[in-house]
């Protein structure tokens, strides 16, 4: 991680100095507070983000249309899907009128968008709360899990990929490739169960399902809803230790999945980089192999790696659906599964929309970072 940061900062600096040298020309100019290159790059960044925003608006409209289709058009009887087949005729009629199913399809679409525009995702039939509130309650647990897993993935995956590429075709390369091959061939939910069986039931090294021991449940004052952060803020180190013991296995399993993907992509970017002319030049200059690999090759590979890391972060939100079910982890994935099993269609669609939007948001952020660290991307 630190190497990556240092490298991307390093390459940023060198790009900056090249650009500003261009902008200044050969004549000495008075030192500016803000260098012209900074403004140029800010401009690129803003245009790129604006363009991405425009296309994202179209995508969001499409995303909502797809969820509308799933909720209202595909089911044989959407009312039944919402109220369930035990409902009385009165509540059936009320739900039908509330969903506007007596209106033409186009009016229904407009009504649906209007409701969503006001931030109203409907009410969950399972928890009887507005879905927006439910999601605010469940999302932080998923965020905590996915973030920790991504940190594992980066710390292990990038060095593994770099090392693998540097020793291409030799033993360490084969070992790393096989480890990561297992990572993305493994059903994560099954690995979670095997992990629980061995590490929790047999060896007792970690805590079982759930986010924290029942003893500390509700004992930590809620600030960020991220239990690791909240327990530290409250100075409750026993609760923190308990939360760590609970999050260790699910985050390690998702982290393995993430590491497999990141290592595989890092390896392929690095192999690509190591055959470039500038690497030959760097070696010819007599730079040490470590400097060539970590600074010159990885520095350039850092740009596409940002996309990879963001994609893997996004896919952890997906992978976590099954992992959360196995570990009874009270996150968005478990919420979605419970909603599915009790046919709570509003909650299913609400969670789907939120996950879709988070995915899009990640793409936007990646685009911005991408254009920031790589001035060639216009």
């Amino acid at each position: 991680m630190t190497d990556l940061q240092r490298n991307s900062i390093g390459s940023k600096k060198s790009h900056l100095s090249q650009q500003s040298a261009h902008a200044r020309g050969n004549a000495a100019e008075p030192a500016l507070l803000i260098r012209p290159s900074f403004i140029v790059r800010l401009g690129f960044c803003i245009t790129r983000v604006a363009r991405a925003l425009a296309s994202i608006v179209v995508t969001i409209i499409g995303l909502l249309l797809v969820t509308f289709m799933i909720g209202r058009v595909i089911p044989v009887d959407p009312v039944l899907a919402v109220v369930g087949d035990q409902a009385s005729p009165e509540s059936y009629a009320a739900a039908r009128a509330e969903m506007g199913l007596d209106q033409p399809l186009l009016v229904q679409v407009v009504m649906y968008f209007g409701k969503l525009g006001r931030g109203d995702l409907g009410t969950s039939t399972l928890t009887r709360r507005p879905i927006v509130e439910d999601i605010a309650l469940y999302f932080p647990a998923t965020l905590e899990l996915a973030t920790l897993a991504t940190i594992f993935g980066i710390i292990l995956g990038i060095p593994a990929g770099v090392y693998s590429a540097a020793r291409r075709g030799r033993l360490p390369d084969h070992v790393i490739r096989i480890i990561s091959l297992f990572g993305y061939s493994m059903p994560t939910f099954w690995l979670g169960m095997i992990g629980l069986l061995v590490l929790y039931a047999k060896l007792g090294w970690i805590a079982g399902p759930g986010r924290i021991d029942i003893l500390y449940d509700g004992m930590v004052p809620t600030v960020t809803r991220l239990l690791l952060v909240d327990s530290l803020l409250a100075g409750n180190f026993r609760a923190f230790a308990s939360a760590c013991a609970h999050i260790a296995l699910p985050s390690a399993i998702l982290g393995y999945f993430s590491m497999a993907y990141i290592a595989r992509m890092t390896r392929s970017f690095m192999i690509d980089q190591l055959t470039q002319d500038h690497i030959v030049a760097a070696r010819a200059k007599g730079l040490s192999e470590g400097r060539v690999i970590w600074r010159h090759a990885l520095g350039n590979a850092a740009v596409p790696l940002v996309t990879v890391v963001a994609l893997s972060y996004g896919s952890l939100l997906e992978g976590s659906v099954l992992t959360e079910t196995v570990f009874a982890w009270p996150g968005l994935g478990l919420y979605l599964t419970n909603a599915l099993l009790s046919a709570d269609m509003n909650a299913v669609l609400g969670a789907t929309i939120v996950i879709g939007l988070v995915f899009l948001g990640l793409n936007l952020v990646t685009d911005a970072i991408y254009s920031w660290i790589d001035p060639r991307a216009k």
Partner: protein
């Protein structure tokens, strides 16, 4: 010796289309068969196909026959993978599950791959508003994580194995369309395509005869690499109770069933999980090998 054989491949133009195809195939096969990992993968995939075809002949017990006298037996000589809570032989059930897994994978590939291929080729070849519209639609589908979208579709369609196949196919085609479009953009401006058009070939004929054949290779690689993902998604749906129904020996559903016995009778959930891992590894190895053989630079 090897060099001599290479030279025979390269020397002179092939005398017929058939010979050219054979020569290309033999080159491709030589590249693939040198790759040990890919051969292991191919072996696993062939094994899956054989077990799926001959499962009923190979299995020592009836996968549905209940025998409470032998319930929850650990793996032993007569029940290699042990028995479940109803005394059914897990080994026979895993063998029968291969057929379900293979049919899901094949059905998804048969539905989604040609659809994505044709849509991507037409989109890339025609360009303009049609291309823009198709690419926006693929963007929308790719904006959802795959499993989540499949879950939502199954929730709307109702649980069941057919609906799981439809849901996975609905989430798979956009990637194929993207790959096919990217290949088409490279091929579109080639001289032989211009020559065909100058001879008066219609757009559809150009796409069918000149564009699609060029995209098939990358499609095969993509589909093979995707197979592992399809198997994992299908198993995930089965695990959540949204795929195959309980008595059916679908691997994901078997894991879900074994979950309540996990801590005391580990084999119920472990064995079908190993089967999923084995098959998904096989497809990934084969897919990697195919990619290297089709594109040796990669």
């Amino acid at each position: 010796m090897k060099i001599a054989r290479d030279a025979s491949h390269a020397s002179g133009a092939p005398s017929s289309r058939g010979q050219a195809k054979l020569a290309r195939f033999s080159l491709f096969w030589r590249l693939l068969s040198q790759n040990l990992m890919a051969m292991v993968g191919l072996g696993v995939v062939i094994l899956l196909a054989v077990v799926a075809l001959l499962g009923p002949v190979l299995s020592p017990h009836d996968p549905y026959a209940q025998d409470l006298a032998v319930r929850l037996m650990p793996p032993n000589m007569s029940y290699w993978f042990g028995t479940d809570e109803l005394g059914r032989d897990i080994f026979s059930r895993v063998l029968h599950g291969a057929r379900i897994t293979l049919s899901i994978v094949v059905l998804v590939a048969v539905i989604a791959a040609p659809f994505g291929l044709i849509l991507g080729c037409v989109s890339g070849y025609r360009g303009g508003w049609f291309d823009l519209a198709i690419m926006r639609i693929t963007d929308i589908f790719l904006a959802f994580p795959r499993l989540i979208l499949a879950l939502a579709f199954v929730a709307a369609l109702g649980p069941g194995i057919e609906n799981a196949v439809i849901a996975i196919a609905l989430t798979s085609w956009p990637v194929y369309a993207r790959v096919a479009r990217a290949e088409t953009l490279l091929v579109r401006s080639a001289n032989y395509v211009s020559a065909a058009r100058l001879q008066g070939a219609s757009s559809w004929r150009v796409i069918r005869r000149y564009v699609i054949p060029m995209c098939v290779n990358s499609m095969v690689v993509r589909v093979t690499l995707d197979m592992a993902g399809i198997i994992l998604t299908a198993a995930g749906l089965g695990f959540l109770g949204l795929g195959a129904k309980p008595p059916s020996p679908e691997w994901g559903a078997m894991i879900a069933n074994g979950r309540q016995y996990l801590f005391d009778q580990w084999w119920l959930a472990t064995m079908p999980g190993l089967a999923i891992l084995f098959v998904s590894l096989g497809f990934n190895l084969l897919g990697d090998g195919l990619r290297d053989a089709f594109d040796p630079r990669g």
